[in-house]
Symmetry: C2
Subunit: 224 residues, 2 copies
DNA sequence: ATCCGTCGGTGACATTGTCACCGGATCAGG
DNA sequence: CCTGATCCGGTGACAATGTCACCGACGGAT
């Protein structure tokens, strides 16, 4: 992913349509940065410095409540962007969201001035930005719908399916799953035991193995 | 608000910066429409036709769950815009949000092609669109934070303050308040009785009178 | 007046969140 | 290797909230 020529990241499939030449020129002046895992990219009260495009790695964006509780809003992976940064630039008050590098990152930070130039002059870049907005808002709305309307069991089944690796194993602590579904650690523990006693999953320290994917899928779709 | 000259709505304070002349020309070709109260502007499965700018009246945007439960995402008032329409145009699948005219409306529908032209050519229009995005996403994030982290009592106190008219009266049914805070009608009824028995509010059919604004404000800010 | 739909009220119960605590696993430093 | 320190998971008890099944009271329409 991390190429050798200056603007190789531009050539990767970050932009779905070809960029205009002048936009390419502007962007190829920007160098990808290396960011260590666990770095906090922004947090409440700190305005981000620009528009972040993730070339490689993964960023988690969390909503943090006053009581210290957290809720995962969405993850930003390769080729995607963190719209919170843009919103922070545009809007007035940054609300209480926090972005953390979940892995080591390769990312490009587009300064605000450059961002504004690109949005004004490049249709392809505009398209990229708008699509990113739409996708992120859809993510957040999905989380809202889950938290507001869906039972814990179903949310948990959903997130387990989402995070399972090809072999059917989910590497996550109960606490992490609780943050992903907007619940409490104890609740996740109990739900997992219930699922395990029904033979749907098997539990290990720091990991959950999916035993009955079909039934779990059914649970994830359950209404009410 | 509904002026007599063709483009009078453009002169109103919808745009915070002056529009470029060519953008004014494009927009003044669009005529405000009258929309009756209770009209559904869009709902799940129906793609909106354009970018809606509300000149007068109020639109409520709701998230609707499969079980029929509803949650108020935000209201769109004079000079604001419904970003869901834009997201629907840009994104792929419309999620399950529904927009309803809460009052009779005067609104301008900007067709997609015109919207794209304006975004490409007018910095003022772009600024308007981006600010609207930021404000709406902030609204939705606030709702999410409330639903995920805040107690019913506190949410209820907050929404009562928000909706009180200058005399301290809130005209809403328990059901409407329940939708506004993402809870159930029975829960709202019980919480209101509890507040009434503490002397913070007085209840009437279809309305709540705020008796102790200061204490209600304290509740609305409560953590945990 | 009577019918009908909306609004509010309530008990019983299921689900979820919170608090207080515990013991085992893991890991870093001595 | 030992030893805290910390993280992870487990659990009981209880509080808060959601759900279900009703009910009566009210207000508008015919």
């Amino acid at each position: 992913m991390t190429g050798s020529t200056p603007s190789s990241w531009l050539m990767s499939s970050v932009f779905s349509e070809p960029l205009e030449p002048q936009a390419q020129r502007v962007l190829s002046d920007l160098r990808p940065q290396l960011i260590k895992a666990r770095s906090v990219l922004f947090h409440p009260g700190v305005r981000p410095e620009g528009f972040l495009i993730v070339i490689d790695g993964r960023v988690g964006v969390y909503l943090v409540g006053k009581g210290g509780r957290e809720l995962l809003l969405y993850s930003v992976s390769r080729g995607e962007t963190c719209i919170q940064t843009t919103l922070g630039l545009l809007g007035q008050e940054p609300y209480s969201a926090e972005a953390v590098a979940e892995t080591d990152l390769v990312a490009v930070m587009v300064p605000q001035a450059v961002f504004e130039t690109l949005v004004a002059t490049s249709g392809a870049f505009r398209g990229f930005v708008f699509r990113a907005f739409a996708a992120r808002v859809a993510d957040v709305m999905f989380v809202l719908e889950q938290v507001a309307f869906v039972k814990v069991e179903s949310r948990l089944a959903h997130v387990l399916r989402e995070r399972a690796d090809p072999s059917g194993t989910v590497s996550a602590t109960h606490q992490e799953l609780a943050v992903a579904i907007g619940s409490a650690r104890e609740v996740v523990t109990r739900q997992l035991r219930a699922l395990a006693s029904r033979g749907l999953v098997a539990l290990e320290r720091g990991a959950i193995e999916i035993v009955d994917p079909a039934e779990l899928a059914r649970l994830a779709e359950e209404i009410a």
